[in-house]
Symmetry: D2
Subunit: 360 residues, 4 copies
């Protein structure tokens, strides 16, 4: 399935940046989950550009739930949510202009030139607004089962946030932050780095770190539908994500087994690990500890500095100078997309494990 | 699908470490692909333990192709390949012993104690022998379309190999190496590191780096079935893999857009990128450049040093001292597993894109 | 996947009878297929109630293509089509009223009372409007490859239509008929039967017969994704379909092998069968002959005669007398739904077989 | 997925008639289900040819469980079961001989001549032995949840069995019958009809009718994964099945709504239907009544009478006279295949609905 993810709880995305709308169909969600439009709007707000560190495109992100909700709760049948595009300005986009770092060239090859090129079309980050809207319902359902998810900007450019400490408090603190860092002073330094890049007509990337608490042990399906594999599958759909790691991830490669193994211990009648180098997953199955993962987010490819490229119609070399409205960083906007993607994948894994009523 | 990966070309794995056999069903492979048993045996050989840096378990890895091959070629119908277990010694495994870093505890929770615990059962790295056998046929099919795959040990413990330089030559050079490094002197240093860890009753991890040449542009299915997402999905099934990154991966997070964007240029009538920070993939779709990815491999969790754990029957704390036969490192054995997994995922993506005959 | 059908070309349905809208997402369709809104409207027209033999609900079936079309052609990315509900009258529906023959009771059990009960909610035939809209694009794509599909009312109540004779001419003649019979005189008799049932506050069923020409040999995936299995899977989604048969179907059970086997013969350089008792499919794979199938359509369960039922809130027996607007027959409206479902399943099978560009 | 069926409980088939073996992988079955090898052997026995009404090929149907069973119970990880071929005689099969009514020609087109043609290869009814073996475990799991399945030969040639009356008693009586009829006198008449056909070098078909008791209400996933659609999907994989109907099926087409609707009534605190014309399914979801379905089985295409065909190598017309060992009827052997297919599809639907432990 191309634009559909999940087997028991499935999400389908559609829409283009400069078309009529973007949207999502959420199928298989348990019936009876409260649908809080204020919460959906809040989540969309977290994804919206703001201040001087974002694009000037300002979509109100008004959404319409077209189906699947009745009397304020999910019905259990497909929920379609629609977000109209209103603030589109296609003037800056040219059909044959292949922007480096973007999908322009690859989409051209795959779709033989029929895809909507304006604003990146279906490849635009705009489509993540629909993912966030669907994810808001998944997050609500998980919260009802005691599962909480939080993501912070662990690194932006060369500035690092502090590490997670008290997970539940940290996750709660992140919930409403538009620039999601655990240490606000470091957040200020990150914003300065973004502004500096913008001033240089350039952009910066970063790392997002996510923690999930309350996930029961025993979820995940080896060999192939491991929890890591499922999460990575959906996370790599997020534009700009180029790496995903769990627990200590790449740092594990430099440890010894005696350092990376998590010793087991009984605590209050439950098996717990003393450390969490494996990020809450062993053998592809959750172990009841907090799930921890990180996503590498590359710098926004849309920069205003001149770049070498090719005119796809003529095949001739061109010097591009993008003039559209662009983000000098998207890491702060992407974090709610990561939360949403993680929530959707976990709803699927839980429903597959415990049945379609589990999240009700 | 739990133990099945792929939608057009699909692989299903089965078997346990100390059961009768492990095996794979490869379904959807194009008809007419030559099945070279010598090549399959060679690939299995690359996965086998050897020398002083591996477990003493020495499975001959004899295999039987049970179906799907006729007169030396794939028939197009499911190919089942079986590898009998012969050198099993279950004495060292105890049912209630949860080894830190392994799936013992999570499998116990998920399967309620019914899973075969001996040697890790279905979670054993032994099952990767079946993946390698199926992958050998995928690699042959890809080679027939001009696609080559090579993986080297980019880092083992604290020793780094040299970077890829001349890709096709490097891939060719790696093909038959049992300890797959580009610089054999650094390989010697890595082996010393492994032996040092073994002497300390400990283990080491590493990073595997893979390059794929010859992949056409236009393969991959956004939003969700991106090439990155599909590859990561299968790669995280490999025991010990805890991170996957594409192109410059996590390093991208620290670059600026002007550094991470790959400029486009015409070369011999084709669009090429001047650099390859994105690892051959833009917007989830191949761009015709070499695909580059890296997997973080954690240290083997089976170590002989004493470890704190829990007896799962009594719930009491125990001090474990593993006495079985274990690998002080698996990074060198895992590389052919990575090659195989990448090949299987690419066969699926190509068959979905170009039809079921494409790989014939 | 619950409300999604297909693996390479996939359709997802959403919406409720009395909610905001019904709609479909068509994913994986080849890029470049012309999207003719007049043709979509014509297809929707064929599904709309008309005259005295249908419900008084008259939806204009205005549709909006929200995504996936650019400059009049499919883009290759997901196409979402939306049909707003306008002529809804929920007064006649009561939450706890379980109408015999409908999904009211089963939906209540499955969704624990959270589903939208008005007008049958997501189980309403209204949702087939979205299937028809998506199917129109599939039909256009198939026509571009020389594949034609036609369905006639083979039987309505006790009146039978004549059999297919000259397939291409018959299919062409059916295309624009609102009451699709090959012999219009028999069609008149069918309408009389429907009107007689309506006068008796009752309803009638029928049989729809479908022929497909131009399908190449070699399409279908045994063992499980046989052409018959895939088609039946989607056809049984159509409300009221309770039987599906291919070729001579159930009549084959009473033949001898010498009668039911289709002898092979060369004609103009191609292998053809002399008869077509197997309906164009052998071993689950198309054989190049016309594909022939039939669907049994049960009488509309909504009748105005009094019926015994249960109040689902109190558990007490009730005598129901439905007062809503209902069809005394749906077989004539269902035929375009069958055409659409067949088209969608065949697009998927062809794209899987020949690649995602095949239908371009 | 081609040779895999199911999303939570999945079965994969492999093997050829004259190859080394046929087999199945059953994945996702709950852990802890007793695996009774005697019962598996009994089920295989029901599929085996016997007496004068079957082929002379006599496979012992010895099976080996290669994985997924530990200490007599399912582990929850993939169960592979293997049945070696021993009594193969390929002399009668010629590569270019396309037998009418078989998959020889379609397989030739699809697999470009690479498929194993001997005995029909992967398309042989022999592969159903593996389906029966896997189905035996599914039947055991269902029995543990109070679900019973029974199939009788409702019609063979022109002889009809009596209808189901007391379902549980009828299902129990059928369990061990090698020629599964409810009325043994009619069974004798059927056998005579088969023998008469054999004497005429011909074959007969029939209708199999299946009843399922104990299935809870609320199982099935509209729109597309209806219970009817899922069951039909797997049933059409069985060679020779050319029609599937539920409840009164095609007969419904000739009823009026007042006759075909099943009135609802409370009985012992549960909602029941007074009649069961809909076969236990409304809106694609089980309603708690017995599930009833019928399969049309065409006459065995292998007959000894001369038939017109084509030599696929030369394209010239040939007169075929098959000399292999063939069944003059398979309806009696197919019934246990139908039981098995129904069981596998229901296990999948139940596990999806109630979670992966439900069948434990």
């Amino acid at each position: 399935m191309k634009n559909t993810f999940g087997s028991s709880v499935a999400v389908t995305l559609f829409g283009e940046s400069h078309g009529a709308a973007v949207g999502a169909v959420l199928d298989g969600m348990a019936p009876g989950v409260p649908v809080d439009e204020t919460f959906i709007a809040r989540q969309l707000e977290l994804r919206r550009p703001f201040g001087t560190i974002s694009t000037a495109r300002r979509e109100p992100d008004a959404f319409e739930i077209v189906s699947g909700v009745f009397e304020g709760r999910t019905t259990g049948t497909p929920l379609c949510i629609l977000l109209r595009n209103t603030d589109t300005d296609s003037a800056a986009y040219r059909r044959d202009q292949a922007r480096p770092g973007h999908a322009d060239y690859t989409a051209r090859v795959k779709y033989h030139g029929f895809a909507d090129y304006r604003g990146g079309g279906h490849f635009s980050g705009r489509v993540t607004a629909a993912l966030v809207a669907a994810g808001a319902i998944a997050l609500t359902a998980l919260r009802g089962r005691g599962v909480a998810i939080g993501t912070h900007i662990a690194r932006c450019g060369s500035v690092a946030d502090r590490a997670f400490e008290h997970l539940d408090a940290d996750i709660a603190a992140l919930a409403d932050k538009r620039f999601a860092v655990l240490d606000d002073a470091r957040g200020e330094a990150m914003r300065s780095a973004i502004e500096a890049a913008a001033a240089a007509r350039d952009s910066v990337g970063g790392v997002l770190e996510t923690a999930v608490t309350g996930l029961p042990a025993g979820v995940g399906e080896p060999w192939f539908d491991t929890l890591e594999g499922q999460l990575a599958h959906i996370l790599f759909s997020i534009p700009a994500v180029k790496g995903v790691e769990f627990g200590d991830g790449f740092a594990l490669a430099e440890l010894r087994g005696s350092e990376s193994n998590d010793a087991l211990r009984m605590e209050n009648g439950a098996v717990r690990t003393v450390s969490n180098h494996n990020g809450g997953i062993n053998g592809g199955i959750s172990n009841g500890m907090p799930l921890v993962l990180r996503c590498a987010v590359k710098p926004t490819p849309s920069i205003h500095a001149p770049q070498e490229s090719v005119d796809l119609a003529t095949g001739e070399g061109v010097q591009l100078e993008l003039t559209g409205r662009h983000d000098p960083a998207i890491v702060h906007r992407a974090r709610v997309v990561v939360d949403s993607a993680v929530a959707l994948a976990l709803c699927d894994a839980l429903a597959l494990r415990f049945g379609t009523d589990h999240l009700a």
